[in-house]
């Protein structure tokens, strides 16, 4: 019986990737001219664009913090980003993701020198194929750096999936909808680049403790590669334009 438990029905990924391989990633900085900082990050068909404005004076006043500046995130999926038209505007889901992104990023931000101000981040998903929140966090982290906002370190995020009993890096929509065996569990996570601390971990579904440990390890490895790409995109930008 134990032997049977080990086997997973998901033995090959639908797009031919290795289990620890992300989709083709793309990172670009300075995509929005009018923003103070902006970046694009893509995992295959999942494309997120982030724009950063600020630090700027915060209104309404009751939200101001006299100790330090605050961070405000807006995550939005465009109506044409998914095969079936999404109703535009904020939803329960987008509000949750905005909040979670804000928490994932605020630990790295250092806004002591800007009391009563706000840094606004607008994350727009222009094309979605699962893992949008982690793509959004990656883009936002690059955009914050590009805007010159003081921050302790970079943030890189990736989603690990448990498809039946197999752990995979960077879940696609097809894998997310897998229904055989134990079906699919999606685990988005974010790590800080230098200290390796975790700033986001979400999980809905079922997973065994040892599997979760393994998933975290896989996530950390994948985040290192993502960080390298973020670093490359930020460093290349300067020599060509500014």
């Amino acid at each position: 019986m134990t032997a049977k438990k080990e086997e997973s029905s998901y033995v090959k990924r639908s797009d031919g990737r290795k289990f620890d391989e992300t989709r083709e990633m793309r990172a670009e900085v300075g995509v929005i001219k009018n923003a103070d900082g902006s970046a694009l990050f893509a995992f295959g068909d999942t494309v997120a664009v982030a724009a950063v404005y600020g630090p700027k004076h915060l209104h309404p006043q009751h939200l101001q913090n006299p100790q330090k500046g605050i961070l405000r995130c807006v995550y939005d999926m465009l109506s044409f980003s998914v095969p079936e038209r999404k109703k535009p505007g904020p939803s329960r889901r987008s509000q949750e993701i905005s909040k979670v992104t804000e928490w994932a990023l605020s630990s790295t931000l250092d806004l002591q020198d800007f009391p009563n101000t706000v840094v606004d981040i607008f994350i727009t998903i222009i094309s979605a194929n699962a893992s949008t929140r982690v793509a959004g966090i990656n883009a936002a982290s690059m955009a914050l750096a590009h805007a010159g906002v003081p921050m302790k370190e970079m943030v890189s995020a990736v989603s690990i999936g448990k498809i039946d009993k197999t752990l995979v890096v960077d879940v696609s929509k097809e894998e997310e909808d897998y229904e055989e065996g134990e079906s699919a569990t999606d685990i988005p996570m974010a790590f800080l680049s230098k200290s390796g601390k975790m700033s986001l971990l979400q999980l809905d579904g079922e997973i065994r403790p040892e599997e979760l440990k393994r998933a975290l390890k896989m996530g950390k490895e994948a985040c290192k590669k993502i960080y390298e790409l973020q670093e490359k995109a930020l460093k290349e930008k300067k020599t060509e334009e500014e």
Partner: protein, 236 residues
């Protein structure tokens, strides 16, 4: 001096060892100097610091800046200076008599004003007009550039901006906050000066930029003004 500066991103180690001191945009953790923002790393002697490439203007005492009047209070004006906090210009800091009931006569909402920063506190910035060349700017054009590029536009001891001024026969005030005001004898020259400044901004990483700008100005000048440049150069 001209050692190669490399770009660093937040969290990257600039230098390692107890002999280094953390400067602007860096922090120290154990023995490492770590970047807290995105920019060019510069290590001069023992001091490691970051020259920012982006980000808003941080007001400093003594800077000359250009601002936009946004509000009038009972004893002064609120000025938007392109930084996270707006600045205050008091009537006391104007070097001539102003009737407190007619503040709008001197500076109205929407006016552009050149001023000097006389005081920077944590959350309040005070401005002054008590220096030469400051005051309301009338006519001309204003343009907005990244405030981190201002030193390049001014050049070494003002060489770059002097060159642009002479070649285009216009008056130029460069605010440290990234606002630039240009007024020439005719609109063509103002636009030429604007183009030259934007050229400097776009090529700000290039070595020997002053020479390049000279070429740029000569190439793009209308015939008659070209003569003016050459006479201008002889005078120097």
């Amino acid at each position: 001096m001209s050692e190669e500066r490399k770009i660093v991103i937040p969290g990257e180690i600039l230098a390692s060892g107890d002999e280094f001191l953390p400067g602007d945009g860096t922090r120290k953790e154990a023995k490492d100097i770590i970047a807290s923002r995105y920019g060019l790393a510069e290590i001069s002697g023992r001091l490691a610091k970051i020259i920012p490439l982006s980000g808003g203007y941080i007001p400093r005492y003594g800077n000359t800046i250009i601002g936009l009047v946004t509000d009038i209070t009972f004893n002064g004006w609120l000025v938007d200076i392109n930084s996270p906090y707006s600045a205050f210009l008091s009537v006391m800091e104007v070097p001539r008599f102003i009737n407190k009931n007619e503040l709008a006569e001197f500076l109205d909402i929407g006016d552009i004003v050149a001023c000097r920063i006389s005081n920077v506190k944590r959350k309040s910035i005070d401005l002054s007009l008590k220096a030469r060349g400051l005051g309301k700017l009338e006519g001309g054009i204003t343009l907005h550039i990244n405030s981190n590029k201002v030193p390049r536009v001014i050049g070494k001891e003002g060489s770059m901006i002097r060159q642009i001024k002479e070649a285009t026969n216009s008056e130029v005030i460069v605010g440290q906050n990234g606002l630039i005001w240009i007024k020439g004898d005719k609109i063509e020259n103002e636009l030429k000066a604007k183009e030259a400044i934007l050229f400097v901004v776009s090529k700000s990483y290039v070595e020997g930029l002053t020479e390049k700008v000279k070429e740029f100005l000569e190439k793009n000048m209308p015939k008659e003004t070209k003569v003016k440049i050459s006479t201008g150069e002889k005078e120097i």
